[in-house]
Amino acid sequence: MQTFFSIGVDALAYGMILFIISIGLSVTMGLMRVINLAHGAFAMIGGYIASYAARDLGLGYGLAIVIAVLGTIIMAVPLERFLYRRIYGAPELTQVLMTIGITFCVIGLANYVFGPTLKTIPLPAGLQGPVDIGFRTIAAHKLFAIGCGVVVALGLWYLIERTSFGVKLRASVDNTAMAAALGVRTKIVYAASFALAVGLAAFGGVIGAELLPVEPYYALRYMVTFLVVVSVGGAGSIPGALIACLLLGAIDTTGRYLVPEYGEFFFYLAVIAIVWVFPRGLMGRAK
């Protein structure tokens, strides 16, 4: 029973981190129709900046998060302007190549600047240690991650369903040309959505650093995972992404607990099985 609970909490925390990072990818894929293999790289950059800010500059956790998110967005803006814009609407192969190229460059630069070792982000006192929720105790940072995930999900839902930006976003996803003809500044919608996606990725990279350790190969290691979330959950769908993340979180955690020596093999087999059963995603939508 104890194991079941531990698996459950870990899976939930892991799933929520995945969600925070991947939801941005899901939205931008649905909107700009770009297969972005470099999304994990943005999460990684966020983690690195936060680690540097917190460890090397001695700043507080909260401040480190803000700097990480803003810093990553600032870095991503020229990338969007000069590289991503060139591949909107391009054939799949072109997008894959460009974004892999970006990923490789980011990995190489991360190693050059920060070195190959794993970087930790020191947690504030409030997030260290366990929290007693009555019948069990959970690590505080995991509870924090779960909480953030819920806030992000609700916040995004509100943004997309209830604000005028959300209306413009949904219109642009549905039919860009038509939305532009109706006066929506689609270029700005794209840029803003990209910034939001990257910011969320960076945020997830920071608060998930305990579960997804920050090191140069981070961007490649979790690439499949983020892509599976979007593929299975359906691009642009918040509930779909949530379900996919929780599912993947559960599978990965269960694998690591029950068959640790075969953990990765089991995970990739499960990924293939899920995509096999839902080739058009959970919601039945094609890419």
């Binding site: 460059c105 190489g108 190693n111 190959p116 690439m223 892509l227 995509v275 080739p279 890419k287």
Partner: protein, 332 residues
Amino acid sequence: MSAGGYVTAIPAQTRSWWHDLIGIAVILIAATAGYFLFPDNLALLTRMIAIMLLVLSLDLVTGYCGVATLGHAALFGGGAYAAGIAAAHFGITEPITMIAIGAVGGALAGLISGIVILRGHGLAQLVLSIAIIHLFHEAANKASEYTGGSDGLSGITPDPILGLFEFDLWGRTAYVFGIVLLLLVFILLRILVRSPFGMLCQGIRQDPVRVSAMGASVKLTLIKMYVISGLVAGVGGAFNAVSTQVVGLDSLSFTNSAEALVMLVLGGVGSLYGALIGTVAFVWIEDLVSAANPFHWLTIVGALLIAVVLFAPKGLYGTAATFVERYRRGSK
């Protein structure tokens, strides 16, 4: 031809036979030149040949059929391990037999990969290709009794070829063996892409709905091509095992798949010649930069990819071919 920075296949307008004869002659001349100009560096050139076979196999699937995959090293590694295990564990050390076994191993890996990957379209397909290379990698890692795990498989000692040509320390036998294999495979592939089957595959890349509206099965054709691609990659992997006498996990890595794709795009997709040229250029650059640590190399590969997409989407061969075509048309 289509505009913009899109990585497109090279138009199959030059279709005469003697173009191919010239091409083969060029390969022979380059091979001979390599033998005499770089006698101390034959190991590098031999490695190039093995990788050329991988990139050729990738061209079949990506350049001719339009399937974008990041998991193609599974076919190469499948052949390498098949040949390596046959030699190290079952004592099959006759080189030509090892190559044949490798081809079968690659074909099997190709069949499995093809069935899995073709289940999805677009993003799902890409995801499956990434998942499958990782799966193969992990499987090889765990089956360390047979594969040597992360230490790699060693103890591969191939017999002299045809009982006459021993594998020497300078790698001369391996090199000539490789050239012969490469030429054989290349000629067969040129025949293949001209055949009705080859045309069907190109049709699938350009419009799969039209192909099935003609009564042809898209999936079956693609799986057949995957098996053929597996044969080619398997030969490459087995040759790598024979010539380096070792098989490592990196032959089954995602990075290997990605680099193969870079080489293919660098040279130009959809022409087979582009695959060869791209491999030569890439491996040569890699050798120049080899003093740098792996992360610097990764950055260079990434920058190269971005540059190719932005400035030379048709690759080295493709851009050259387009220039030649425009020149010919302009002078008419």
